[in-house]
Each structure stands twice: as C-alpha cells, then as structure tokens.
C-alpha cells in the first residue's frame, strides 16, 4: 500500500501541470477558463446541498436509533465468514440502488471509523470502482424503451462483486 500511496501523491499535481501546460501551449487564457469552470463547479455544489442534507439527516436518524449498529451486529458473523467487515454489507447493497444514499452511508462510516481505518479504506476503494447498477440500467433502458436487457444485469453484478472483492484485498495489502 505504501507504494500505491506514493504514486497517488504524484497523480494530481502532474495532471494539473499537464492540463494547465496544454492550455498555455494552445494559447488559451487559462485563468479565465479556470474561473468560468470553477463557477460551474460551485453551482453544482450548491445544487447538491439539499440532496446531501436530506440524506445525511436520514442516515443520522438511522444511526441514532441504534438500527445500523444492531444490523451490523446481526450481519457480523455472516460477513466475517466471507472476510467482510459488517458495515460494508449494507453499503454494498444500497450502492446497487442509489449512489446518493450510499454516499450518506459512506460519510457515516468515515465519521464512525475514520477514512484511514481498514473499513474506511475498503469503503473508499469500493465507492470509487463501481456505479449504481439498477439506477443506471433503468435510466438508460427506459430512455429507449428496452424491456429485455439480456445479460446486462449479470455483467453489472459480476463487475460489482469483483469490486467488493478487490477493495477488500487492496485494503488488506
């Protein structure tokens, strides 16, 4: 993991360097472009604040009621049998339906265990390697009225399972 962290340290600075350098070579007013883009970014953040607020309130209520802890305790033996920490199980399940709801759970996990704990690491990697299965499929197939989706679901579930497995392995390494 140390080497991976070392590599990760380089990617952002190099990418920023490359993008700004490319813009300068293309003789663009890079700073003006940046400011215009940053404005769009701020708008996006303001737009997601209500969503995030609703979700964090929902997850906080669930956490405060003791439901999440009891669920984790209930799932712990089964989850341990396949090498998963219990809080990861509801997360990988919810993630198939809604990535925003999963984000609420992620933030709850970070708050409880910290992003650098083993559970925090699995969560960080898991959330970065697959998308919402059912949401994505329904949006796309509905848009062109497709009813028979053939092997799409199987393929998406295989990719998601692979994601859980590889996240646990990488976080252990």
């Amino acid at each position: 993991m140390d080497f991976l962290v070392f590599l990760s340290d380089f990617i952002m600075p190099l990418m920023i360097f490359y993008i700004v350098g490319y813009g300068v070579l293309a003789s663009r007013p890079v700073y003006d472009d940046f400011v215009r883009g940053a404005q769009k970014g701020l708008k996006i953040t303001v737009e997601i604040l209500p969503t995030l607020c609703g979700l964090l309130v929902g997850v906080s209520i669930l956490r405060a009621s003791g439901f999440l802890d009891d669920l984790s305790a209930l799932l712990a033996p089964a989850a341990a049998a396949v090498g998963l920490p219990a809080p990861i199980v509801p997360l990988s399940f919810i993630k198939m339906f809604s990535s925003s709801a999963a984000t609420g759970l992620v933030l709850d996990i970070f708050k409880e265990y910290g992003p650098d704990s083993r559970i925090g690491w699995i969560t960080s990697i898991l959330m970065s390697c697959t998308e919402t299965v059912f949401y994505t499929m329904s949006v796309y197939f509905m848009s062109v009225h497709i009813k028979k989706t053939r092997y799409t679901l199987a393929g998406a579930l295989i990719a998601s399972l692979a994601g859980v497995a590889v996240s646990v392995l990488l976080a252990a390494g």
Partner: protein
C-alpha cells in the same frame, strides 16, 4: 427509487428509535446530519470548483477532443457492431471521457445520446443489443481515473492523506471494468451477427414526448454529481 429509500430510512429509524427509547438521540442526530451536510458542502465546493475549473481549461484547449480521438481504437474493439464513423462513436467517447474524469453530470447526457443512436442500429425493438449491454456494463463498472468526490469526503473526515485512494481505486476500477468487458464479450459473441447500418425506427414508439420527459428528469437529479452517477 430514492424516495422509497429515504422514506424507509426516516420511518424505520424513528420507529426503531421509539422502540429502543432513543428519541432524544434521534433529534440530536437529525440536527447534526443537517449541519454535517453544510460543512461537507463547504469542503466539496472548493474541490469541485478546482476540478471543474481544470476541466474547463482541458475542454477549451482541445485536450478533451484529443483524448476522444485516442479512444477510437478502444471503442472499435468494444463495439464492433457500430460501423466506423457512425455518430454513436462520438457520443460513446464523450461519455467515456466524462466518466474517466469524474464528470457525472456530463457523462449521463452524452451516454443517453449514445444510447439513442445505438437504438437506431437495433433491429429488435424492445430488446437490448450487444452494444447496449457492453455500454452499460462498462459504465456500471466505472471508469473514473480520479475519484475526486471520494478525495473530498476523505479530507472532510480527517484523512491523513486523502489523495492516497487514487491508485488503489484505479487498480480496483480496472479490475471491475476488465471483468465486465470479458463477461460482455463472452456473452455477446455467442449471439451477435455483424450488423450493418440498419436505420430501423422502433414501431411501438408512439409517444416521443413521454420518452423525452423521462430523459429530462431521469439522470443527475437523484445522484450526487461526480459519479454517474452518474453515473450517476
């Protein structure tokens, strides 16, 4: 979908809390959740603005177009059923690049456009083509190179090195994407025949406006931008 999940969280939480006698904690939790959301958005605002600012430079300097050109061989390999030069190719590459860069809000519209054009190559209305299956499996297996939102969340919750997730996430997403592609290739090769350009309209499409309005409210609304969300 999210409406049900959200309602279930709230109702189950309060009911469960009442049974367990934890009503004061629930009030406290609800208020704390709302406060956390605002704090998190403050952190996110900076990171997102930095990212979209950089992407604006990349777009206007032609870097994104150049990247789209570089993707062509990959797209030809993944979607052999799409004839070379077909407009679907451009939309697929726009969708993929937006996904690479974590721009979920840009990926979904491009993806829906790509899907519409794949539908014109579909000679069995209502049944997904190999190209559609491949497209969605690749999208769901995630292509994101830099998980910018995750970095923001990690930094908000006190990670010693928020960006340390980049390479492990990259490895993980490569593994899931390759698994998805292999599976789709295996399943697809069995039944696919090299289809020519067959501009066939769907017969059962009577209500174009219904389909449009679905598209408008479909993506991006429930998902936190940055993923597909995305992806959302």
């Amino acid at each position: 979908m999210l409406n049900y999940i959200w309602a279930a969280m709230i109702l189950a939480g309060i009911f469960y809390g009442a049974v367990r006698g934890r009503m004061p904690q629930i009030t406290e939790g609800a208020l704390a959740g709302a406060r956390d959301a605002v704090n998190l958005c403050l952190t996110m605002a900076g990171v997102t603005a930095l990212w979209t600012g950089l992407m604006e430079i990349a777009e206007r300097s032609g870097l994104l177009d150049k990247a789209a050109g570089g993707l062509r061989p990959l797209i030809r390999f993944l979607f052999p059923q799409v004839p070379d030069g077909h407009p679907a190719q451009a939309d697929i590459s726009a969708n993929m690049i937006a996904n690479f860069l974590g721009l979920g809000y840009a990926a979904t519209p491009a993806g829906l456009r790509a899907f519409e054009k794949l539908e014109t190559l579909n000679d069995k209305p209502g049944v997904a083509t190999d190209a559609m299956c491949m497209f969605l499996i690749v999208n769901i297996s995630s292509l994101q190179l830099i998980p910018i939102n995750m970095i923001a969340y990690r930094s908000q919750y006190g990670s010693a090195n928020p960006a340390a997730v980049i390479v492990p996430a990259l490895i993980a997403t490569t593994v899931t994407t390759i698994c998805g592609i292999l599976f789709a290739k295996m399943m697809g090769s069995k039944s696919s025949s090299p289809a020519g350009v067959r501009e066939m309209k769907m017969t059962g499409r009577t209500s174009e406006h219904v389909c449009l309005s679905e598209k408008k409210k479909g993506p991006g609304q429930t998902d936190v931008p940055g993923k597909s969300e995305r992806g959302a």
